[in-house]
């Protein structure tokens, strides 16, 4: 009975945190962009505009829902859900802390510990593209279609780099289990960033492409495609696409923390209590979430051929070489 209660509490806390993060990100995106451009940003709803996400939510719900003429209704309606669901499911295997002891119960701090945790995340990450493709195709609009096409080409190309950069870390840890990967990085000097700096750079670049974020946001690309795959969407379905994007960003930021920055490990304090570890995890993840916004308002967008050349001719060979060198070093030092 207590196990079920613990499990339900974990599920509620993790999903609540994920959705809250998405809401905060929708505000942070505007606040940070305003800060970088010497503006105020949203500051009317609540103190310093902190209630803006709530106002946005109410507005989205009240708006009329439109389905374009000639659109494929079934696919048009399920596409936003297909886009948001994978990220919300993927967060389940992210370990956000070591083991907590609350009221005599030992609790592992993640919703589910899978032996194949990394593969689970990659599988769901690969499914995230369906929402974008189907939304673009079902809208019966050329802008949406082009956005969907670009997204599918881009996400397939960068998924390879993403997987190969993760494989280097998996080779180091000798396990696909995310908990094993953070256990191997408990001490500060064991963090994978010190052993796999190239994999970290590749993963971070691919992370931007996989979440369709600037400078790789060709799926939307406002100056060329109006809104890309979500041009024809309105009301809550439009909001669901954005919720999916912010959730995917959060999962990717948390994954980056877990793979390269020790997860909940605190530098120079190896026996820190579990809640300090959770705070460390949140701080690290927040940095990468900030990085998403920082890059968006700093770098210009690439051209589509540049994106493809970067992915196939620069990142993929580097990622392959990195895996080969890592594998060779591990094989030679194993004996």
């Amino acid at each position: 009975m207590t196990e079920i209660v613990i499990w339900v509490v974990k599920v509620v806390v993790v999903w609540g945190a994920l959705l809250t993060t998405a809401a905060i990100m929708s505000l942070a995106e505007r606040k940070v962009s305003a800060w970088m451009q010497y503006r105020y940003g949203p500051n009317r709803v609540g103190p310093f505009g902190v209630l803006q996400p709530v106002a946005d939510g109410i507005k989205f719900i009240m708006k009329e829902e439109l389905v374009p003429a000639g659109a494929n209704r079934l696919l048009f309606r399920i596409a936003p859900a297909l886009s948001a669901a994978p990220a919300m499911l993927a967060v389940a295997v992210i370990p956000f802390g070591y083991t907590a002891v609350i009221a005599g119960h030992e609790i592992t701090l993640s919703v589910a510990d899978l032996d194949i945790g990394i593969l689970y995340i990659l599988a769901l990450g690969g499914l995230g593209v369906y929402g974008v493709i189907l939304g673009g195709w079902a809208s019966n609009s050329k802008y949406s279609l082009l956005g969907g096409l670009r997204a599918s080409a881009q996400m397939i190309s960068y998924e390879l780099t993403l997987m190969l950069s993760i494989m280097a870390v998996v080779l180091m840890a000798g396990s696909l289990d995310l908990r094993q990967i953070i256990e191997g990085q408990r001490a500060f000097l064991d963090w994978n960033i010190f052993y796999q700096p190239l994999a970290f750079v590749l993963f971070t670049i691919a992370m931007f492409a996989e979440t369709n974020r600037h400078p790789f946001d060709f799926a939307e690309c406002e100056p060329e495609l109006v809104g890309g795959f979500h041009t024809e969407y309105s009301s809550m379905r439009f909001a669901l696409f954005f919720l999916g994007e912010y959730c995917a960003m959060t999962v990717m930021a948390a994954l980056n923390t877990t793979l390269f920055w020790g997860g909940p490990s605190v530098p120079f304090w190896p026996d820190a209590p579990w809640y300090v570890g959770v705070v460390a995890f949140i701080v690290k993840t927040s940095f990468f979430l900030f990085l998403f916004i920082w890059v968006r308002w700093t770098l210009p967008r690439l051209r589509f051929d540049q994106l493809m050349r970067l992915g196939w001719q620069a990142l993929l060979p580097l990622a392959l070489a990195n895996v080969m060198v890592t594998g060779a070093v591990i094989a030679l030092t194993a004996n």
Binding site: A71, N72, D115, L119, A123, G126, L145, A153, E159
Partner: protein, 186 residues
Amino acid sequence: MAEFLFYALALVALCGAAGVVLAKSPMFSVLSLLASFFALSVIYLLMSFPFMAAVQIVVYAGAILVLFLFVIMLLDLGHMGSKVEFSTAMFRSPAARIGAVVALALALAGLIAVQRGALQQAAGAAAETGPRDGLPQLAEALFGRYGLAFQATGMLLLVTMVAVVALAKRDRRKGPGSQGAQGGER
């Protein structure tokens, strides 16, 4: 419970496979195939083989089907329907009829084999060879015992790919009065 789930999933997989053949729009063929792959993946999970389930989704649903969708969106936009429609028009050709008969015969043979207890034998053999989810065991078998066959399969796929590219290219250039030749090289 597991047995009921298996039959439900098997039904989904079969319906998905039938949908691939019968759907009018190629888009829905691909989506039916996706449903079929998902059902298969969950069946692997039921067999306590999560690695296979995840790989099934990563490789087939996440990569190959997305490529299919990509090609369909590039080439075939005429079948854009606002409804899901099925058609049996393809069974007018004799080849398709023969194929359907062979498929039905195979399904019947499979059913008879299950009836005679073939599955129990296979399950017994699998139980003897140890835990099915040992990832190291799988890797050892794949790259050790069956390493040569594994590499050969990879080579075969590569050769097939090169051959397909070569065939497709030759057709476009030498085709009698083909529009591709008039349109010039891209």
